[in-house]
């Protein structure tokens, strides 16, 4: 039964997957096992994305299925139950930019991979990032931006983190439509992620180093 759910989800069979989840909950199965299968399915989705078999629509669709499963599971969770968290990541769209779809996908993929994600939203000034770092002690910061106006906002944000004495506490990654390695250098960030999975790979690598 477990394999059924993992494969059905990874193959994006929405109705069949939800039917299995309902059945498993009805027979009183531990909801954490279902969430764990959901996570394993998303790992397969992530691998297929990295292999250029799946693209953004498949990430979005599998994300929706995972959310629906989480909704079904939530009422059955015992208070305080949750999956074990790997580490903390802060993510936000930088000042002046209101785009969020890519950021939301990366947030979701990080969450499903087991990170504790602090998504601070869009159009965030440097101080918001600094406050969140100080508040959470997160070791990874993701800066998102779609437009060319984000280049300078990211540069200013990285500098502000440095001025606040926090630069050595965090690894910073940038991502978004206009970003590339040149812009990474320009902003002073540690890495540039070309797509959603790159963000997860970078976070895993860096948290490992911690």
């Amino acid at each position: 039964m477990a394999d059924d759910l993992i494969n059905l989800m990874a193959d994006l069979k929405e109705q069949e997957a939800l039917t299995i989840v309902k059945r498993r909950l009805d027979v009183g199965e531990d909801p954490l096992l279902i969430l764990d299968d959901s996570r394993k399915a998303m790992e397969i989705v992530g691998k297929r994305f990295a292999a250029n078999e799946y693209f953004i629509p498949e990430l979005v669709y599998s994300g929706e299925i995972a959310k629906e499963i989480a909704e079904l599971v939530r009422p059955k969770l015992i208070k305080g139950q949750d999956i074990k968290r790997l580490g903390k990541v802060i993510i936000g769209t930088v000042s002046g930019d209101i785009h969020d779809i890519g950021k939301n996908i990366v947030s979701f993929m990080l969450d499903i991979a087991g990170f504790e994600v602090y998504d601070i939203g869009i159009d965030q000034p440097p101080q918001s990032f600094i406050d969140k770092i100080q508040q959470t002690g997160a070791g990874v910061v993701g800066l998102s931006g779609l437009l060319t106006l984000a280049f300078d906002s990211m540069k200013v944000t990285v500098e502000a983190i440095k001025d606040a004495g926090l630069r050595d506490n965090v690894k910073i990654m940038i991502g978004g439509g206009q970003m590339n390695d040149e812009i990474r250098k320009y902003t002073g960030a540690d890495a540039y992620g070309e797509d959603a999975m790159a963000g997860v790979t970078l976070a895993k690598k860096w948290i490992g180093i911690k």
Binding site: P57, E64, G96, I98, I101, T148, F151, E182
Partner: protein
């Protein structure tokens, strides 16, 4: 390449070049106009021009260049006019671009427009406007959309995107006009009860604001033409998938639709095709230039698989472009992001009738695959224009001209135009280099 008896594309381009109703300020201006328009027309038709044309699209770069803010140009059309004129005269490109794309802040405010945040209204005063994505059409609304798109637009869509038009959603459908004389009274009653008067008033006021912008850009076009600058931007239209994906269902909405309701999606795309064609034709009607701009958003690598591209994105876009070409119009799709793995599919277009504008596509590969079919436009990277050096700009332009400009078929521009934050020295370097190195000997 055979020329048929009625090559409508050639006819329309020749008309643009001859500009019969334009009175030029000086003989030099007339010469400049003829040279520039002929240069661009030759490039489009895959003939070798005298030099590679450079025809940059600008949006808020002129504001930065003239030392004013984006908010200034959106709210004061005279300030916008002067900024765009300064850019046109200082850089002397092969075309001039007017300030229509900086929109009218007052008009947007008048309608309480929801689909944008703009300077002074959700984004800082010196930043560009930005699109606010939402599901302006919900997943369960395909049926009513397909049944009567106009009714959907008036009573559901417009109220969602313009705050002042909210009363329209309370109106009964306009088809209630039918029953005899009673129908007209019922319509009036419906409109009174829905409070539509205020909505209609706001449309009247918005019209007045828009007219200010329209008149300003019209005068600008006239002045630029008289000074010897062809106006290249003619009409605009959209790929049906982008109409649905950008303006109606939103990015995530339409991606889910591909999986959850593909049949409805395909029906809606077919429903939108005649409108897309009509938009392209109607919007070109008052312009001399036959070029129809089609910004493309949702079809690149990563945003959908090759199979999804063939099934959902390409068929109606393809038919749209063919229909425009049949009228002698020149479709200019701007393929935003990367289409490198779908070049073989989009190559299916009659030769010498279209401009394919590429952003992140491997433009050198594009030349190999479809250089014999379309004129290629692009693609100096925004990252270089904003954070690079003049030397990097020149190096990139050199490769563009050497490879993509071989035997003609190249129009130089930034990857999606000149970015708002481009360094002035880089824009100058790009301009001067193309004019000097781009000459065909």
């Amino acid at each position: 390449m055979m020329e048929t008896n009625t090559d409508k594309t050639k006819e329309k381009l020749d008309l643009w070049c001859s500009a019969p109703d334009v009175t030029f300020d000086t003989p030099q201006a007339e010469q400049d106009y003829r040279k520039r328009s002929r240069r661009i027309s030759d490039a489009i038709q895959l003939k070798i021009p005298d030099r590679v044309p450079i025809t940059p699209l600008v949006t808020f770069f002129p504001a930065n260049y003239a030392g004013v803010t984006a908010q200034d140009v959106m709210y004061d059309h005279d300030i916008a006019y002067e900024a765009f004129k300064k850019v046109a005269l200082d850089f002397q490109w092969d075309t001039a671009m007017n300030h229509l794309n900086t929109l009218s802040g007052p008009m947007l405010e008048e309608l309480d427009y929801k689909q944008l945040k703009w300077p002074g209204h959700g984004v800082p005063s010196n930043r560009s406007y930005q699109f606010v994505e939402e599901e302006y059409m919900k997943a369960n609304e395909y049926d009513i959309f397909l049944n009567d798109p106009s009714d959907f637009m008036i009573r559901t869509y417009l109220p969602r995107i313009c705050g002042t038009l909210a009363p329209f959603q309370l109106m009964p459908p306009l088809t209630m006009v039918f029953p005899y004389y009673v129908g007209v009274m019922m319509m009036m009653a419906g409109m009174v009860l829905s409070g539509s008067a205020s909505a209609l008033e706001s449309i009247i006021k918005a019209q007045e604001k828009f007219i200010n912008l329209a008149v300003s850009t019209s005068i600008f076009n006239g002045e630029m033409q008289a000074l010897g600058f062809p106006i290249m931007m003619g009409g605009t239209t959209q790929a049906p998938f982008d109409t649905l994906g950008d303006s109606l269902r939103g990015t995530q909405g339409i991606m889910l639709d591909m999986y959850r309701q593909p049949d409805n999606l395909l029906k809606a795309l077919d429903k939108l095709l005649p409108t897309a064609i009509q938009m392209g034709i109607a919007s070109s009607a008052t312009s001399l230039s036959p070029v129809v701009f089609i910004p493309l958003h949702k079809g690149p690598m990563g945003f959908m698989s090759l199979e999804q591209f063939k099934k959902f994105y390409w068929p109606t876009l393809h038919k749209l472009m063919l229909a425009l070409i049949e009228q002698g119009l020149v479709p200019m799709p701007c393929f935003e992001a990367d289409y490198t793995d779908r070049l073989d599919i989009i190559k299916d277009i009659p030769a010498g009738k279209a401009i394919y504008w590429f952003e992140k596509t491997d433009i050198f590969k594009a030349k190999e695959v479809l250089g014999d079919r379309v004129c290629i436009r692009g693609n100096v990277p925004s990252s270089i224009m904003c954070t690079g050096t003049p030397e990097q700009v020149r190096q990139y332009c050199k490769k563009l001209i050497d490879v993509v400009g071989k035997n003609g078929g190249l129009i130089v521009d930034g990857d999606v135009g000149i970015p708002d934050e481009a360094k002035v020295e880089n824009v100058r370097a790009m301009t001067d280099f193309v004019k000097e190195y781009g000459v065909y000997r």
